[in-house]
Symmetry: C2
Subunit: 247 residues, 2 copies
């Protein structure tokens, strides 16, 4: 049997997991669950590579991961097998054979994240794990103005939670689109890559603009400060979704 | 302080509860949780009366309940207090003072239930607790034809799970509306009252019509049989919502 490189498109509810990535002993990660199922399928340990390392409690609408498997199964059989054994809060939408050199993270050209905020005073019962209930009206127009300053190529060190920077912190944000439907504000971030906690700190900072605590123009100073303390709070994980990985 | 009769409009995710009604020792019911909070508010045991006794795992978009409380608080203060102490899967949408004689169950003139079915093969990740994933295409037109036979005043004994009938089993269904959006089929039942498991057995029977296992016309024989075994399966609780109580 030959070794096949399989690319998975995944959806998950991150609520009860310690994030995507395996860390030390914890198997309670999305990567860990997928590796368990694929190792069982292949009859030997299988390593899974994910495009985005979503944090604890963050969800995915379109995470991409790949794994090399020795198996006779067709793509369809792999997909069915995986969905039969994965828990019901993780779903494989597709399983496709790809060239052996494909690596879901190293080949990713960009990612799209969504962040959902509810301005309504009452918390939502059925959406409560998938939205950040702010309970305050936001000035969405001011947030859109601020977003313009953040779009483009910048050093996003101020929007990164990691204290030690071994790697470059320059990133390009192609788009920050802010839409509104009823009491729900949705922020859509498209960029070539995002630093640790970057989308949640961008969101927290934009919320503070929407609350009138910061001006849209002050985004420039935050970027120039290259200091995490200059930016706003880290918005909670529950409102965040990895929506799409671009290749 | 005077005793006030307060009517609550409630929304809940029934997934982790043993239904609405307190049973023996279990406090893990919606009624039990609400009584705990209101007893704390009033400083004495408070009894809560609900309009519909939803089963284990059944949800509510608009349950109505009332309780008599000795309190100085305004309606608004009661609402805020209740929402502060209720778990995040139960929400009070309103708290209104009503005449002392009002009883949420005895005065109810009718109820509306919703049942949601997903015909798509893949299970839904974010809706998984709030929909029944059937994974099969249904003949919705046949289901609508069958619904006509079930609408009106009938003895619904065949659609009731209770084995002993101390009470009359004649009910009037004003409306069964079946709508379709994408892969989701939504059944809306409006009636003066529903027997134990009645909505779920009606739904299971209509699903069997949609699968071609029963004809629309056979609904007449099921009603006439006055025998639970003549009807279809009991659709799972997770797809069911008490949508509205009518007065």
């Amino acid at each position: 049997m030959e070794k096949k490189n399989i690319r998975f498109l995944l959806q998950y509810d991150g609520s009860r997991y310690d994030g995507w990535q395996k860390q030390g002993n914890t198997e309670n990660t999305i990567q860990g669950r997928l590796e368990q199922v694929l190792s069982r399928l292949a009859g030997e340990p299988v390593e899974v590579f994910g495009a985005g390392r979503t944090d604890e409690g963050v969800h995915a609408l379109g995470q991409v991961a790949n794994a090399r498997l020795v198996t006779d199964m067709t793509e369809r059989e792999i997909l069915d097998y995986v969905n039969r054994y994965l828990p019901d809060d993780i779903l494989a939408l597709r399983a496709d054979r790809v060239p052996d050199r494909f690596h879901s993270r190293l080949n990713a050209a960009g990612k799209v994240y969504l962040y959902r905020i509810d301005m309504a005073e009452k918390s939502q019962v059925f959406q409560r794990r998938y939205i950040y209930t702010l309970g305050q009206t936001l000035d969405v127009e001011a947030m859109r103005q601020a977003a313009v300053y953040l779009t483009g190529t910048h050093d996003f060190r101020s929007f990164c939670a990691a204290r030690r920077f071994r790697k470059p912190t320059v990133r390009t944000i192609q788009e920050i689109r802010i839409s509104c439907e009823g009491s729900v504000v949705e922020l859509r971030f498209g960029g070539d890559g995002f630093l640790y906690h970057m989308v949640r700190i961008l969101t927290g900072t934009l919320i503070e603009v929407g609350q009138g605590k910061r001006t849209p123009e002050s985004m420039t100073q935050i970027l120039e400060a290259e200091d995490r303390d200059a930016a706003g709070f880290t918005a909670p994980a529950r409102g965040l979704f990895l929506a799409e990985v671009l290749y």
